[in-house]
Amino acid sequence: MSKTFDRFAGIAFLLIGLLFVIESQRLSESSYGSAVGPDIFPLGLGIFLVLLSLRLLYETFRYQTSAKSGEPVQYIKFVIIFVSALLYIVLLEPLGYVITTFIFLLIAFQTMERGKWIQSIVIALLFSGGVYYFFAEFLGGSLPGFPVF
């Protein structure tokens, strides 16, 4: 539990709630023959979320933060994997499934733990090739296969 996060989340959800309140006013009020329009439900939810966020912000001033357990957080590994996942998405359609998946897995395996290159390459190749063959060739699903040059 972190006070900073709770405050930040409280403000973020407060803004989301306000956004819903304001934006639902812009929706037309009622439609043919129905007594209630598409705006009431989101409006109510927005108000409720605003109230809950205020309550959370109020709570953050009351509780004591428990001492942090010294859990080592491995930011570098995570950032490398997260960024390669982002690149994976961007390149998936232009480069095709097999190549991007293979590269992503290889990078991720090596980021998690260095070494055992041959094993990593074999597993990455088996997974990307296996999934593609099974899904696209055997089941007839559509995946972007290989880049078209």
Binding site: S28, L52, F109, E113
Partner: protein, 508 residues
């Protein structure tokens, strides 16, 4: 047709070769999910929805739905079996409902009785699975008949009760749980409004017109969230694994655990039927009950077999019981059943009172397959438990990236847009941050599933009453449901104010 006749028809579906295979794959993966620490039943089921959707792509809709749900439900109750393995052998629960099993299970393993503990857990789970299924068979028809009398106002209040129950018991802070519920409901309003045809909160972005995809959100929050957590906070490498030894329990063990298994099964079943109270609470209560009943309560925690048999039966019975409100009322009472409900809806099948009339194939096929699946699990978990224990040693190095790759493949193969992949990644990050800071994500997913139905029932009820909100309280059934919903939120709050500790349901 009588219930028995329906059940027989169900078996004819469950015994189709592909459905036997689906049930087998489901329970196999479920056991693995239960054994692997870090992947719970929720993330396991979420991750497999897209995979099953692609596997069943060639079948007609109803058959595809039956096969997929058979597999996914298999993962759910299979995980309940598997969860005991790591609790007993490593003192690390594979999923949260096996936490109390560590207390006596690991002690038994230290005394060289790991095999007995594991087999009793499997036998207890099997007995509980069958008992809760019988309950499901007996209660399904009558309950859905009652629910058929419900109008929109009653349905609205019933769904509110479901949401209140899950938010009231989930997580450490009720404010946060309620915030997640409301946020989930809000996410459900994005897209074209089904009643008026007006686009809400889409800002002319075409991918938003159909709304946010439930599947993407669930896989992101649960599966990717878990993976990110494990990458960031490497779990402490666990100690040495206990030897398993002889697998069959002794006569004495059987005698000592027969009564706890029975009690655990019934207790777990009834707790499972209640919305919001899931397998974790069931196993916890069963442990307390066994300790109270025991003539030697002081021996609990030192390797009492009743302390393994009771809770392990209870958590399995609870997962069977949780299927009842889902199938008969269309109200999921937990995170995992919410995900299962999402899977039903993906196949355009609405769980609820009409399920048994409109899609008897799916409903009874699923119930019958659960008998088959429980039998398979007994076989898998008795002689093959040594093989499964090996799964624990799967290196995280390979496991975690592959889970990311599977979730990407699954979401892309179903949605076919990279927008959903970006959303998936964002939800993974959000899932990690929220869970880490005690914002429970199960209520969010439940709300996302129930949201559109909640809103439609509310608007139908209001249309019937000409916009009078009093319709929800003048209708007696609806009023009772609303009062129970409010009580469900207030009672834990009052107990906490009095300084009492309230049992939390972390499984969601």
């Amino acid at each position: 047709m009588s219930t028995l006749q329906f059940l027989m028809d169900g078996f004819s579906i469950a015994f189709q070769w592909q459905n036997i295979l689906f049930a087998f794959v489901g329970v196999l993966i479920g056991t693995a999910v239960g054994v692997l620490p870090g992947i719970g039943p929720m993330s396991g089921v979420a991750l497999l929805i897209p995979v099953t959707a692609t596997l069943t792509a060639g079948l007609p809709t109803e058959a595809a739905a039956a096969s997929s749900i058979i597999l996914l439900a298999g993962v759910y109750y299979g995980a309940m079996y598997g969860g005991s393995t790591t609790s007993i052998l490593l003192n690390t629960p594979g999923e949260s409902s096996s936490v109390v099993t560590t207390l006596d299970g690991y002690q038994m393993a230290k005394q060289g009785r790991a095999g007995s503990a594991l087999s009793i857990a499997a036998i207890g789970s099997f007995a509980a699975g069958i008992i809760s299924l019988l309950g499901l068979v007996l209660l399904a028809k009558p309950l859905s008949n009652v629910a058929l009398q419900f109008g929109p106002a009653e349905y609205f209040s019933l769904m509110l009760l479901g949401l209140a129950a899950v938010s009231g018991l989930a997580g450490k802070s009720m404010t946060k749980a309620l915030m997640m519920t409301v946020f989930g409901l809000m996410l459900g309003t994005i897209g074209i409004d089904a009643v008026s045809g007006i686009a809400r909160f889409t800002y002319d972005i075409p991918v938003l017109f159909s709304g946010l995809e439930f599947l993407t959100i669930a896989v992101g929050l649960f599966a990717l969230g878990e993976v990110f957590k494990t990458i960031l906070e490497r779990d402490h490498e666990d100690g040495t694994m206990a030897k398993i030894g002889r697998i069959l329990p002794t006569k004495q063990d059987m005698k000592e655990s027969a009564a706890p298994i029975l009690r655990g099964s019934f207790l777990g079943f009834f707790i499972g039927v209640l919305p919001g109270a899931g397998a974790t609470l069931a196993s916890f209560f069963s442990y307390i009950a066994e300790k109270k009943i025991s003539k030697t309560p002081e021996k609990f925690g030192t390797g009492q077999i009743a302390g393994v048999a009771g809770p392990e039966s209870a958590n399995n019975a609870a997962s069977g019981g949780a299927m009842i409100p889902l199938l008969t009322l269309g109200i999921p009472g937990s995170g995992t059943t919410a995900i299962l409900m999402g899977a039903f809806i993906m196949y355009n099948i609405q769980p609820g009172p009409l399920l048994f009339e409109d899609h008897p194939q799916v409903a009874w096929g699923l119930i019958a397959s659960m008998f088959v699946g429980n039998l398979m699990l007994l076989v898998l978990n008795m002689p093959l438990v040594k093989v499964f224990a090996k799964i624990i040693q799967t290196p995280k190095k390979y496991l975690l990236p592959i889970i990311i790759a599977i979730s990407f493949f699954g979401v892309y193969a179903v949605q076919y847009t990279t927008f959903d992949l970006f959303l998936l990644l964002a939800c993974g990050l959000l899932g990690y941050l929220l869970t880490k800071n005690d914002f429970p994500v199960a209520p969010l997913v439940l709300a996302l599933v129930l949201g559109p139905m909640l809103e439609n029932n509310m608007r139908r009820a209001l249309t019937i009453s000409n916009g009078e909100f009093s319709t929800f309280v003048t209708n007696p059934i609806s009023l009772v449901l609303l009062v129970v919903a409010v009580a469900w939120l207030l009672v834990p709050l009052l107990l906490r104010l009095k300084g009492r500790t309230v049992v939390l349901n972390e499984e969601g």
